[in-house]
């Protein structure tokens, strides 16, 4: 294995940021050098929620590496509170101040008396771990602010939604719709909620962990608030959407309304009928799926099992706590599985596999272009495609949207573009 590594995933800082940013009335202060702040800001700004970017810097300077920057962070906390009046301020300690030993937790203790917002502080030095660990630790940390409730509401919490995934907004709407049709209500989405809603997450009767993201949080909530949890597939396609509904219903000791499900399936069938020749045409198309564990396994299975595509490579860009179990269980829908591979080695594998389409992120744009393969942008980070309608990739409606996107990614190209 190579020592050098061209990563497919980010560091702990960005995992933590993604979790916090889903709390709508929060501000995240990146306590680190300008590059860390600038990169984090761009990750948010190049997405599809440009007027809701809530990541700021602490004003850290190179000279602070000598004298420390705790004071600067304190000023930043105060200033950003005055500007944005957030309910929650998260200060994320980057590599430089972590190594220097800035006591940001002490700063938070001091500032708690001065500002009427909750404060979360985390050490997220780049060398301390990958993004998924930052995400898990942050969701776990958020449980400290939750308020115990005696009587469960019969509602569920959905854990593992990342608001900066492409079409996340549409996915949430579709998942809510599917559940609502089955008479199931969502209490809180972690994290796509106000901080008060997060605090009231223990009102739920069941935690539903999507694709394994946020499992640590669900485990803590079970211990601390006695809320059971289930892990479910991300609902890509018909099969997984039905599985999702069945799992949630079972978790609540209920049955799903199969008539409603049949109606949904019928609607998907109507859509499929309208493009069936193209779907016949791409059947067995060799593809690669590159994405985070919480979604990529389920996407790859949908593509293989329902669309009949040949998933030659599945590259998991970022693991989660379920990844090793899934690998152990095995799944013949995936060809070669690569876990957090080096990009150079992955690109080499993609070239050898001869794929026609890559389901990946913006950073697969070049290899897709080199291979003259279509790129379907479905994995984090998508920084070169926007989505401002409510069209989902998840659920029954998402099935058709995915079909539409895949077919269009093929047929809109020119012969000149792909020849030779």
């Amino acid at each position: 294995m190579s020592l050098i590594y061209d990563p497919l995933h980010d560091c702990k800082l960005v995992g933590a940021l993604r979790a916090i940013h889903g709390i709508r009335d929060s501000i995240t202060i990146v306590h680190g050098r300008t590059g860390c702040h600038c990169g984090a800001l761009l990750l948010k700004t190049l997405g599809s929620d440009q007027n809701n970017v809530r990541v700021v810097g602490s004003g850290f300077r190179s000279s602070d590496e000598v004298y420390g920057a705790e004071g600067r962070l304190a000023s930043a906390i105060q200033l950003y509170y005055e500007y944005f009046k957030p309910q929650l301020i998260a200060a994320l300690n980057c590599s430089a101040p972590v190594i220097m030993g800035d006591d940001i937790h002490g700063v938070a203790s001091l500032m708690k008396e001065k500002i009427p917002a909750d404060l979360i502080t985390m050490d997220t030095g780049g060398y301390e771990g990958p993004a998924w660990i930052g995400y898990e630790e942050t969701l776990a940390k958020v449980t400290d602010y939750m308020i115990p409730h005696e009587r469960p509401s019969g509602k569920i919490n959905l854990i593992g939604i990342k608001t900066d995934d492409i079409n996340a907004h549409g996915d949430v709407i579709e998942i809510k719709r599917m559940l609502k049709d089955q008479g199931i209500e969502i209490n809180t989405i972690l994290n796509d909620a106000n901080f008060d809603e997060i605090k009231n997450a223990p009102k739920a009767s069941l935690n539903v962990v999507l694709g394994g993201d946020g499992l640590a949080c669900a485990r803590i909530m079970r211990e601390r608030f006695d809320i059971p949890y289930i892990t479910v597939s991300f609902p890509f396609g018909i099969k997984k959407s039905i599985e999702f509904l069945e799992s949630v219903a079972n978790g609540l000791d209920r049955e799903i309304d199969t008539e409603l499900v049949d109606r949904e399936v019928e609607l998907v069938k109507d859509g499929i009928e309208r493009v069936y020749m193209f779907l016949q045409g791409i059947y067995a198309m060799p593809v690669a799926v590159i994405g985070e564990a919480g979604r990529a396994f389920d996407l790859a299975e949908f593509l293989s099992d329902e669309l009949g595509l040949n998933v030659k490579i599945l590259a998991i860009s970022s693991k989660n706590h379920l990844t090793s179990d899934i690998i152990e269980d095995g799944n013949d829908h995936f060809g070669r599985v690569m876990i957090e591979p080096d990009r150079f080695e992955m690109n080499d594998a993609l070239k050898k596999a001869g794929v026609s389409a890559i389901f990946g992120s913006t950073f697969e744009k070049k290899v897709a272009s080199d291979l003259k393969a279509s790129l379907i942008r479905i994995s984090y980070p998508v920084l070169d495609e926007v989505s401002i309608t409510d069209m989902p990739y998840a659920g029954f409606k998402g099935t058709l949207h995915l079909c539409e996107t895949i077919i269009n990614s093929i047929i809109t190209r020119t012969l000149e573009e792909v020849e030779g």
Binding site: S2, L3, I4, Y5, D6, P7, L8, H9, D10, C11, K12, L13, V14, G32, R33, T34, G35, C36, H37, C38, G39, A40, L42, L43, T45, L46, N51, N52, V53, V56, G57, S58, G59, E65, A69, G71, R72, L73, A74, S75, A76, Q78, L79, E82, Y83, F84, S95, A96, I99, M100, G125, G126, Y127, A131, D342, F344, F363, K365, K366, L383
Partner: protein, 517 residues
Amino acid sequence: MATEVREKNEISENESSFLGTFVSTYSTIPLHGITAIPGKIAGSLLVASAIEDAVPLIHGPVGCAFQRKINPFRPYSPFYTTPCTNLNDVDVVYGAEEKLSQGIVETYRRYRPNLILVITTCPSDLIGDDFDAAIRNVEEEVNCKVVYSTGDFVGRSRPIGYQDALYAITDQMLCNGNKEVEKNEGSVNIVTFPIHGAGVKVAEMTSVLGDMGIKVNKVCFDHTRVEDLYELNRADLNITDYPMSWAKLMKERSGVEHYEILGWDQYDKNKDPELLSPYGIAGSSRVFMDIAKLMGKEGMAEEVIRNRRREAEERLSVLKKDLEGIKVAATGGMHGLGLSLLKDVGVEVSILIYRMQVLEHRLTEEAIEEIVDLNMNLANKYEFDPEPLVNPTIEEEIEAVKRSGTDLVIAPSTTSHLYNREGIRTFDPTGFMLNHQRVGFECPVELCMLLKETLGTAQKRTPLLSMLEYDPHAYNMTPHWAKLSLAFNQLRSGAIDDGRVCEDRKPSEVIIDEPNI
């Protein structure tokens, strides 16, 4: 590298207007110094990516490699290849020099580059790795040059990473005394910031210099390779956009003179505002004559400049007839569309708008006054008599535009809609700057044609962008982004003291109502 440069007029037809649009689409993100500053890694990666056969090696953790794939200078073009040494907590405790040495060898074996640019990061800087030693340990195992950039070589020259990487290349590779170079007598290098179209932007300059008997040794960065860099010190003169630390070093070590198109140093000496105005006929003539003097070609240059100038003026005299009497509201400051260009095209500058809010956090009052005076002095010199508006609201601007009978506002696409909905036409200076603005005599001709085209386009009265709420002062931004910007600049400028003071400060002392961006 473009020694065979193309003549300018090829761009609009062949380089595709899409490229301009592609660049412009991202140019509206309020980033550089407004809400954030790209770190040194991004600047160094810009250099590595501008050299075709170079590969960066980031000596740091995964985040420094993954997140920096986003190119803040060109967000439409990520840095796709960013291998790193994947530092972890053990490395931070015990050091990572050995890892760096091995990483260099692996990088070479994997990519077979001609140059590996090692870019250090916060963790590797702070733990005190000896980068030089780590490189020397494996120098003989790799058949390419290895250079390291820490961000510490160039003081406060910005962008630091960009300046530092070029300095490192000059220091450790080009001018380290290891290589004798045969001079290319009477030649210059033209080295511009590696943004799109560098080759095109210097095409006319190359042609003019050629007529003056000055050869172009190298143009950077335009398909530049390591072998091209090795030839830089064959030239007599380096021409850069603005002061560059590497050029000063090359002068010290190899005797290659340097000349900056934006003459900050000269301006400091005699405060002639035209020294900061290198565009248009007058500005370009001055720049070409400066270069000619440094190259000892004044005699030939005078005639070349005269001829080129006459040709351009003849074309302009016809073209600008349609612009006679057209009143324009221009933007003052350091980055506006140059008044000299507006003078060339024969419009009347009726209003001069200054938006100094961001600068107020960074510059002294005197410096800001100097910028205002500088623009007014230039306006007077060109016989304009504009009404100055300092930090106006949009309502004040529109009122002034209507009152003065101004026909066109020089306004970027971030604010155009605010004027357009009032029936006022706009011209985008950012698009012009990115795609057309350069030293040369063609530039005012292009501006003239573009202004005429703008005045003939349909009025846009109901732009969707006007549906949004904008900050009353920083009206290129929504209130949310205006706050991000204001807070960023307040922290950066030290307007907010650090916590040593903060502890005793009352909340009201945080200036939160200041509307300046």
